[in-house]
């Protein structure tokens, strides 16, 4: 149901009402912005100096924000790679016919999905040495936490994707004599990847956002770096630097989503994606996938 079903094509009176509503609504939005700007103005937050620091290369602020962005992307890239690979491996385990493999994998996945990522990272930070006997740097602590959590979530997304493929596909593959691993790798997975791409990408965006938890263990990602800069230059720059750090996150995530959207369009138009089954299964599977993707919130 598209939004337009909720209201009629408008007659003259309706159009007038919407016009009035638009003006009132527009004024409401403008008023929100005005109040915000006014508050910032009276507190001197709009002064050029306060914002100029973000762009003035002599202060070193843009450079260190750039470095922090690189540090953030490094963690995210490595964690994305390992989480996806491990997630795929775990999803095969969860779909295995052997209970001896399926049960432990299920327990691992459910466990890591159930505990908050913050707790996981804190545990790795405080407990890696005494409990696990590992000497992890902050970088690897953050990567490991992100990988353990996201592999579990990605496992569920990939599993839902594989299960959403029409049964006829695997039955046909078995019928022509393929082994289970062949069916999985050359029949189910390629189709599942297309279908779960949106859910997969939104989880990777979540992962990128979660790199910001690095500040808990003082890993110099964007927000931690913003805090360091504020400590150095003084708290009159708090708002500006935190807004800048958030802005960089928003831009990067937005780019990632846009690229993914383009990719999705290309993948879907490049071949006739099992036309019938997609349409038929669409409604239900999409909901399952969204539900899984939204899980992390």
């Amino acid at each position: 149901m598209s939004a337009s079903v909720l209201f009629d094509d408008l007659g003259p009176r309706g159009q007038r009402n919407v016009r009035i509503g638009s003006v009132v609504g527009g004024l409401f939005v403008l008023a929100l912005i005005a109040v915000g700007l006014q508050r910032m103005g009276t507190n001197g937050q709009l002064e050029g100096d306060r914002w100029a620091i973000l762009f003035d290369t002599r202060t070193g602020v843009p450079q260190s924000l750039g470095k922090a962005l690189v540090a953030t992307l490094q963690v995210a890239a490595i964690a994305m790679l390992f989480a996806t690979l491990l997630g795929a491996a775990l999803s095969f385990g969860r779909l295995s016919d052997r209970a001896l493999l399926r049960l432990p994998v299920t327990i691992v996945v459910e466990f890591f999905r159930a505990i908050p990522l913050v707790i996981l990272i804190l545990f790795l930070f405080l407990g890696a040495r005494p409990v696990l006997g590992l000497d992890l740097s902050r970088f690897w602590t953050l990567v490991l936490g992100l990988v353990l959590y996201n592999m579990a979530v990605l496992c569920e997304i990939i599993r839902a994707g594989i299960l959403s493929i029409d049964r006829g596909q695997s039955e046909a593959a078995y019928a022509i004599g393929m082994r289970k691993s062949q069916v999985m790798v050359s029949i189910l997975l390629p189709q599942a990847v297309r279908r779960m791409l949106p859910a997969l990408v939104s989880q990777l965006v979540v992962l990128l956002k979660d790199t910001s938890l690095g500040f808990i263990i003082a890993y110099p990602e964007l927000l931690q770096q913003a805090r360091n800069i504020i400590n150095f230059f003084g708290s009159q720059y708090s708002l500006q630097l935190y807004v800048a750090a958030a802005g960089i996150y928003i831009i990067v995530n937005f780019l990632l989503s846009t690229i993914a959207h383009q990719l999705e369009k290309r993948v879907n138009s490049s071949r006739k994606v099992a036309a019938g089954s997609t349409v038929m299964a669409g409604a239900n599977e999409d909901q399952t996938l969204t539900a899984v993707a939204i899980d992390r919130g």
């Binding site: 598209s2 908050p116 938890l213």
Partner: protein, 217 residues
């Protein structure tokens, strides 16, 4: 284990803090998210734009950044909160509302067009058909994703204690672990268990509510 036993009363208080913070944020986020979803399907373009911009901005911002802006950024424009507990509720609500909005909107989209058309044919206005016909059905279909959002919210609330000065179970636990390095595993096991005490029954409850409210189409 000893550290857990010795501090049981403090940990219990921390657990209640976590639960209270999550519940308050859940209520506010649900209300705010539903209003935003109504904005997003409204006939008035500026409100639609407001809803869309809010969702796009907040969804792409890390929760940590929302916390930073609420706790350290807003005081710069004279918006202060009595304590970190309230600030954390605000940050969690603002963040979760964007996700609630998307979930409710997907629910509205899943209600069949005939329902809204019938409501309009009866002469209900936009507000009436949304309130009386579409939203009640929409909420039933989005019970599972809303339940998942609640569970995610409980887990996200750990950030308030882990990163900021809210005395919830995450902070108390991490503090205990710092003081008792030899009992780190038991302490974190205890914290994980505390979160599961909330999330696992929630998951079961969501399943029950889903079955009770399911509508045949």
């Amino acid at each position: 284990m000893q550290a857990l036993y010795d501090n049981l009363d403090r940990l219990w208080a921390g657990f209640l803090t976590t639960l209270g913070m999550s519940l308050a944020a859940a209520v506010i986020a649900t209300i705010l998210g539903t209003i935003l979803a109504a904005f997003r399907v409204a006939p008035i373009p500026p409100l639609r734009a407001l809803g869309a911009v809010y969702v796009q901005l907040v969804r792409n911002t890390p929760l940590t950044a929302v916390f930073f802006v609420v706790i350290f950024g807003l005081p710069a424009v004279d918006i202060t909160f009595q304590n970190f507990f309230i600030a954390a509720i605000v940050a969690l609500s603002v963040y979760t509302a964007a996700f609630v909005c998307e979930v409710v909107r997907s629910g509205i989209n899943s209600v069949s067009a005939g329902q809204a058309e019938a409501a309009r044919a009866l002469g209900l206005t936009f507000g009436q058909s949304l309130r009386e016909v579409v939203l009640p059905q929409a909420f039933r279909t989005v019970v599972p994703p809303l339940g998942n959002l609640w569970i995610a919210l409980v887990k996200n609330s750990a950030l308030a204690g882990g990163g900021f000065a809210v005395a919830d179970i995450a902070q108390l636990g991490a503090g205990l672990a710092r003081d008792n390095p030899s009992q780190v595993l038991a302490i974190f096991g205890g914290i994980a268990l505390a979160y599961m005490v909330i999330t696992v029954p929630s998951g079961i409850a969501v399943g029950v509510i889903e079955r009770r409210t399911a509508i045949l189409r």
